[in-house]
Amino acid sequence: MKHRLNKAVALAAAGALAMTAVPLLAGTVSGASSKPTYTIGVQGPFTGSDADYGNYDYAGVQYAVSLANASGKYGFHLKVEKFDDQGSSTVAPGAAQKAVGTKNLVAVVGPAFSGPSEVSYKYYHAAHIAEVSPSATAVALASGSDSSFLRTVADDSVQGGADASYLVTTKGEKNITVIGDESFYGAGLADAVATDAKALGATVTTQQIANFNEGGGGNAGAYSTLATSLAQAKPAAIFYGGYASEFGLLIGDLTADGYTTATHVIMSGDGSNDASLMTSTSPATAANGAFVSQSATGKVSYFTGKMATAFTKLTHTKASIAIYAAQSYDAANAIIKALVADKKTSSIKTLRKETVTSLHKVSFAGVTGPIAFQADGNLKVDKGAVQISEVDNGVITLVTSVG
């Protein structure tokens, strides 16, 4: 169905392109009498075990774009294109280069993950293409001024602080082992949790174990030896900074060694906040009782009422589970508002540049909250509450908000 829809959009786009063929050949993207078609790319995992994230991001962008096109009030037509990085830092450069080489691509929503964002940045930045990520939360991604990387989600310093506060203050755990997966995102979040938990008075032991799903050179067998060691050391709580696939494997290994969610707090961040956590955990029931957080402005349930119905009807995706779809929707709308502000009489190269500049000036009430960016690309208002969820009978269920 989606495929058919894409075909229809592609046909419409082809028609629009045909009508603007002469000005395009002349190096411009604007026709005097017809609307030009611009492409918004979506970079994220569309295949593999993390494909949910990419598909939800795409659904959010698709929703925003369909509303914009249907409104008829803009001087351009939009289409959406997927760029699959499989959530892997190894694959991401290829996806980014493909996006950069895509004709009439003006900006990208994504990448979904922090590792791929880190390695993709140089390609987009060199081509002056704005990336507006709905979910890449690593602190180090946003830096410098007039960055072409922006995000509609708070960074890990906010999430890490809230996670530490939940473990130490709410749960009262004073002896915590914090594990980083050596990925750009996971190690950063683990550092933030460790630092903040120490500041709150907890005794923190840190561990690092290389991931093997996000381009890391890790060995899955090492997770069982780490689990054995943790089960011996018996910290009161374990925090894992990393992704669902490895977190699930670790929970399975820990459970086999007698360290379970029934007796201890086992927690991870938004990288593990996905239904694939249950399929990665063997047996799946061992994941029950594990906690996962969701960064500030990162909650799922922003689409409500008529919006949720319209979203589901258009994208065939349940609004209640489509994590980061609302953040993607806001990211796409930020790009659309930037395009409106652009001059649009210039070449695609200049239009991309203008979009980066315009994005830094947008300010509107997004569905997730106020959307306006700092010079480094972070949200101006990013102090929303971090949501802590627990796996309850195989379903990730909201427990509380911190902050």
């Binding site: 899955a220 054995t228 086999a256």
Partner: protein, 324 residues
Amino acid sequence: MGFAHFWLSGFDQIRAGFWAYFAVGLQNGALYAMIAVGYTLVYGVLGLINFAHGEVFMCGGFAGVLLTHAILGQGVANGWESVGLVLAGIVFAGLISALVATGVEQVAYRPLRRRHAPKLAYLISAIGASYFLQTIAGKEFGYGQTTFPAEVFPAGQTMFYIGNTPIHTIEVICVVVGTIMFLAADRIVRSTRLGRGIRAVAQDAETSALMGVNIDRTITLTFIIGGSLAGAAGFLYALQNGIVQNSGTALGIYAFTAAVLGGIGNLRGAALGGMLIGLFGSFSVPFAFEGNISWTEIYTFIILVLVLIVRPTGILGEKSGRTA
């Protein structure tokens, strides 16, 4: 003070959890040993390191997981059903990996052997074959994406206890299967006509050809034996960890190290090396500085270097030509 405390607390952890570390170490060691047999056999007959062997292991993992998923779906087996599925997985994974290993030999090595290419050409060819297999698996199953474990028995199932330490079914299966398959390979090489052929080719290929040994056939059979052990190891590994397109890289390095530690070319050395590296890797986890598990690899390689300084041909000695 801090340094002494670090080491003492490491020993405390080992004292408290000796059997748990021992069981995991034996399990990993059995897997390393099964893969190491392939490295050592091929080195014995061809005098080269088959760097695509890690990918032969990986192919076995995918084959076993796909077969058991096809039979079992999302369910979890129990009792005799589990036994049947484990056996089916081992046989199927062994077969597929043997096929892949033979394919690598036919495509990557045989043409070079016919043209008496220098050893360096084999090395490049092996690296090429390794990348090829990884890329094919990545294209088919996703790059760096786990194909989830085959639940042919309840994950984390405890078979028995030593004191308070649970010994898991997966650990017992790995050690038992590894031991049986190793003994079978050892028997074949030591006591059969084929084994004599392998040993003869390893000693002097030209002379053994003059004596009527079919070199091509012997080499193919060597790859089949090594491949089937690696494939079975791949399936056993995937039972617990799932499998990724690059799983063979890390495991392959460990297994190759095991073969060198035991004495490359020496079948029993491969088994001994595998077990030692497995156990050492497990027992060194409590001594990982700053909790970084990568330190266990550094410790392992320090031990390897120390052993090689004392015994440059490995613990049991290189026995190229007198395999086993």
